[in-house]
Every structure is written in C-alpha cells, then in structure tokens.
Assembly symmetry: C2
Homo-oligomer: 341 residues x 2
DNA sequence: CTGTTAGCGCGTTCAT
DNA sequence: ATGAACGCGCTAACAG
C-alpha cells in the first residue's frame, strides 16, 4: 500500500516531476533546465521555464545533493565575529560567491581548535564543495578530515606553514618584524607591548615574535608588556596602556596587537594629556577605517582582509578537484605611516 | 547490472549501513542512536557508538533532510556585514544555536529587497527550519514565501509593523523621538542631521522621522541636513559634519545615523578645534564600545544587537510549528547620556 | 537533444 | 526495544 506523502512538507509544494509533467518533458530534461546544464533545445527550455514559473517551483537541494553526492555549500569556519577582521573576510568571500551557485555556511570557533574540529565535522555532513578556515593550526583529527576529504580547502590569514590545499594571507611574523624595523628607524628605542588574553590568536603571537626578533637584531628588547585579562577591545587597549605607563613611564612607543586596542591607547593619551608620537608612539595592526579617519591617523599595518576572503573563494571555485600541488597566495601588507608613531 | 558507486564520493565513506553492519543491528537502530531518538537499550547504543567511532562515520545530512523533509539549517539574511550591528546580531544567533543541532546559513542582501528575495528563494531550497531576516519590509514575493512556508520566521531589529511570525527588536521611530526629546531637554535648539546614502536602511529612516516628530512637537525643526554620497563610515561622518558646519555654523547639535559616523563627527571637531558639547553636541546611535571608551564617551542610544539575535534564535527553537498568533518582542533601548551631547 | 533506469543515504511508517 | 520496506526528490549513466 502506498505510504502517504510526507506530512511535514507543504501540501502542494511542487516537485520536479510536477514541472516535467506540466511542460510535457521528462524529469531529467526539466532538471537540466534548472541546472542550466547539458544541451537543451530553446523551445523545450522555455516550456520548462514557464512551468517552473507557473508552479513557483523551488528545487530541493537536499535531494540534489544526495543524488549528486555534492553540494553548493562552502563551509566557513572563523574564530570570531566580534573582531571586525573576520566580517571583512566574510564580505570578501561573499563578494566572490555572489553570482555563483555557492552559499557560505558560517561557523564560529571562538579561537578554540576543538570547537573548530567539532563544527568542521558537523559541516562535513552537508558534503560541502569547499571548506574555508582561519590559520594553519588545527587539531590532528581536523587535519586528517581536511586532507582526506573530497573537497577544496582554503586556510586563510596566515601563510607561515604548510597548508592542506590553498593558503591565502600574509606573514604575520614578517609584519611584526617590519613593525620593529620601522619604529627603530623612526627613532623609537624603549618599546612596550600590549596584549590580550586570546592565547590561541596565533597571528597575534606571530607578530609578537617577529617584533621581538627585529628588536633583538638591533640590540634592543621589550622593556615592558602587559597582557590584559580579557579579550581585545578599545577599552582593553586604554586600560592596558595606563597600566604599562604607570610602571614604565620611560616607554617611548607601545605596540598593540590590533587597531581597536591601539585606539584605546590613543584615548588614554588624550585623557592623560600625553602627546602622541612626540611623547609616546602608538602602533596598531589592521588599518581599520576608523583609525585612518582620526585627526592624527593611526600608524599601523594594513592587512587585506577583504582581499584574502575574496581571493580564497575565487581560487576555490577554479577547480572542483584538489590539484596535486598546494597553493600559497601572499596578499602582503602595507605599513601605514600615519601620525601616531 | 548494478551501477557503480557514485564516483564523486570518497572511496570508502562509511554510511549508516556500514555502521549498522559493524554493530550488528539494523540501519534504523543505528539511525536512532545517531539522532538520540527513541528507546535504545544501553548495550546496543554502545555497540553502535563504537562502530561509529571505529569507522569515523559522518551522517549525510542531505539524505537525512530528504527523508525527513526538514533540515537543521537556519537561514539568516542580513543587509550587510560591514555595519558591526549585524555581526553582533549574528553572534547572538550563534550563541543561541551553539549546543543545538542547528546551523546558520548566512546571506547578505546589501539592503536590497530584490537581492533579499533572490537569496531567500535559494535558501528555501535547503528546507530550512527557520528563516531570520532584518526588518519588516520585503518584496511581495518574499512575503508570500515567508507566509506560506512551513518554517518559522523571525524578523529582526524593528518592531514597527506587522511581522510574519516573530519580530524581535526595538522601535526605531521611538528611538528617534526620544533622541529629540532628550536633546531638547538638555537645551539644544538648533539641530542638524547627517545621513548616508543607504536609502533602504529603513531603521535609519524611522529614527529620522521620529526625531522630526519630536522637534515639531517642540516647535522646532531641523535647520540643516546633509546626505553623504556614500555608505556609512567614520570618514563619511567627519566629512558630513564639516559640510554641515560650513553652511550652518549656527548649529548647536548634530545627530548622526550611527556611532561610526558620530565618531567621525567628533574627529572633525577635534581637528577643527570645536569643543564638543559646549560648542556643538554630537549624538549617535548603537552604543558601540569604541564610542564609550573615548575620554568623552559618546552620547548615543544603546541598541541591543546581541540580545536581539539571541532572543530571536531562542524563540525560533521553542516550537517547530508556527503558532497561530504572532509574537513581538521589544528588546528596548537605553539612552546613554555620555559626554558629547 | 531527450528519455529510461536505478539508485543516492536516510527516516517514516507500521509491525513485531 | 528493534526491524522491514518503502520512497523522499533528484541526478548519473547510458541509450537512443
């Protein structure tokens, strides 16, 4: 006895069979029209298209996915959405995916590799066409899934390491190094460093290490650093600078892990009557618009977040199969001289 | 002759049948264990779980979706990711969905109802359990799909209107109105208004109208307004204030559509040597952290973005079926007195 | 250029 | 507490 139609769906949601019937063609022909694939005679296509319009047909992607063992989803795993960096990356991804059939599915890992692993596995159950992650460090389990899967993989932000498939980003180590060189050249000698408590922000750590290296090479070292006991924020930057200066008034420049915190540093200087650049240099990272809109533009490094996201998504779409050799794309960075250091 | 196994999948991606075979149970029993549904004897469950672990089994959600005519996806359609407001909403949604089986799928509409309609239709092909959108204005076609669909719907940010199912947000009209009342009470009389070119930002328009109403009631009106010929940004705010003041130096307060632009206004004042609050009041909207971390905290209205997203997602999960009557949740707003107006 | 056939992997239904 | 059978809606493969 025929089972009754699944009760959970709308009573008369049309299927491809309905479209085919109305258009007087076979299902597969209708399917080909929907997917714009294969050769279809113009009159046939038009009949199918008008049947689709007449019925208000919406394809069922679950069925399509199942039949074709693939989907048009792109899994995107980001550490955070509070840090504007990642929405920027996401915008880039979105821009590349607009006008394609692909859709991003977002997961947020809170900078935790174990959460990343968990979300990755759950995303893989949708048979994504590609996976985008931040950074090159993943759990061994995650790394294994990434390597064995039949999907493209892009690892974003960082390029200092060995990617699974594609890496798009910049060398944060080098950015930190160049920061040090730049500030030394500008005459600064007594360096302070502000940090936050996101210990798994590998990029921030890499920049820190790069900076230390350049200081060492110049016979210098960090005089002081303070790790704010909370996540990055403008207020964190402001409070951290106050603490640093109260113990080390001799500092002539303080480097922040990002522009948000650096802005906080500037606000502290405004509050405390410290002349920025002359009395104290302030240096950030990211090159956010707001920092550049200040009367004294923030001295910082421009990271190309949008470009990273866009490039990665474009690259992933180039070929459905993972090529034999890995790709590393360096989007580079620019030092913004600014007026604060 | 049996067709060969789909060539696109990994050579030996285990299926539920493999798990069942290894555990010595039927597929449906294994399925019940995977979904933690129905009564299963403890020893049976353990055997299945260890088979899952041994094989590294990952469920195929496309198949599950197809069989059950439903998915664990939640479609989220946001106007923008550049405006920090929406990442904040997204964080709220994410927070509510963590520890549930649901996953958000993000689409970005660029404040364009037609793009919203297009993305909505494409999302519906995944049979989402719920759809989240911004605002109450959609195309007639989109509205029809939303009303007829077998999924929950939440419309966020605004509550001035008639929702399809659930609305979570605040009254922007009232926020604009209260802004006017507040500033009048503080003694301001000569009002200027800065705008941006996102004409379909209905919330900004509603605040503008509310403000005008309160001015009218006090026998006042806007002396000047300027629409910046580009999207909202800090620089847009800075440039807009400069233009406003060059033509209307008599203004004693300028209201901005958001904190980003208001910060730009403050930067212009810093640059031009204008004493904020005494010579010119500056008022924003959103209550971003950065504005509150300034030496003179920005006077603004705190919108509760995170709460809106979280509340909406939680509400959507309460029942899979759309209840007979609509729900409107007012998350309210707070006036932050600040030091700039 | 179009059609026939045969599943994709899972969950619902109903039976035991 | 567990299982058998069927089909969800679509597309790959091959034939014509």
């Amino acid at each position: 006895m025929p089972r009754k139609r699944n009760t959970r769906r709308s009573p008369d949601m049309p299927t491809l069979a309905d479209v085919a019937r109305l258009a007087g063609v076979s299902e597969i022909t209708a399917s080909r029209v929907v997917r714009a694939q294969g050769p279809i005679a113009d009159p046939t296509r038009l009949r199918v298209l008008s049947a689709i319009a007449a019925l208000g047909y919406i394809p069922n992607r679950a069925a399509g996915s199942l039949a074709s063992a693939g989907s048009t989803l792109m899994s995107v795993l980001l550490p955070s959405l509070s840090n504007i960096v990642f929405p920027d990356v996401l915008r880039g991804i979105h821009t590349a995916l607009t006008q394609t059939a692909f859709q991003p599915v977002i997961g947020v890992t809170d900078y935790d590799p174990l959460i990343e692993e968990r979300i990755l596995i759950s995303f893989l159950s949708w048979q994504p066409a590609a996976v985008i992650l931040a950074g090159l460090h993943h759990t061994p389990v995650a790394r294994r899934y990434l390597e064995q899967g039949r999907f493209r993989v892009a690892e974003l932000m960082d390029i200092d390491g060995d990617p699974v498939d594609i890496a798009v980003g910049m060398s944060h180590r080098q950015a930190g190094y160049e920061t040090g060189r730049h500030l030394i050249q500008r005459g600064y000698r007594r360096f302070g460093y502000a940090r936050h408590n996101i210990l798994t922000d590998d990029r921030a750590s890499a920049r820190y290490e790069g900076l230390c290296t350049s200081l060492q090479e110049a016979g210098l070292s960090l005089i002081a650093e303070h790790r704010y006991p909370g996540p990055s924020s403008t207020k964190a930057g402001r409070d951290t600078l106050e603490i640093l200066l109260s113990a080390h008034s001799e500092l002539d420049v303080v480097i922040f892990p990002n522009d948000d915190m650096a802005m906080g540093g500037i606000f502290h200087c405004m509050y405390a009557g410290i002349t920025v650049r002359e009395q104290l240099g302030i240096f950030g990272f990211n090159g956010l618009d707001i920092g550049q809109a200040m009367p004294m533009p923030l001295s910082t490094i421009l990271s190309k977040r949008f470009l990273i996201g866009k490039t990665a998504a474009e690259k992933l779409l180039e070929s459905r199969e993972r090529p034999p050799e890995k790709t590393i794309i360096n989007t580079g960075f620019d030092i913004i001289e600014g007026a604060t250091a």
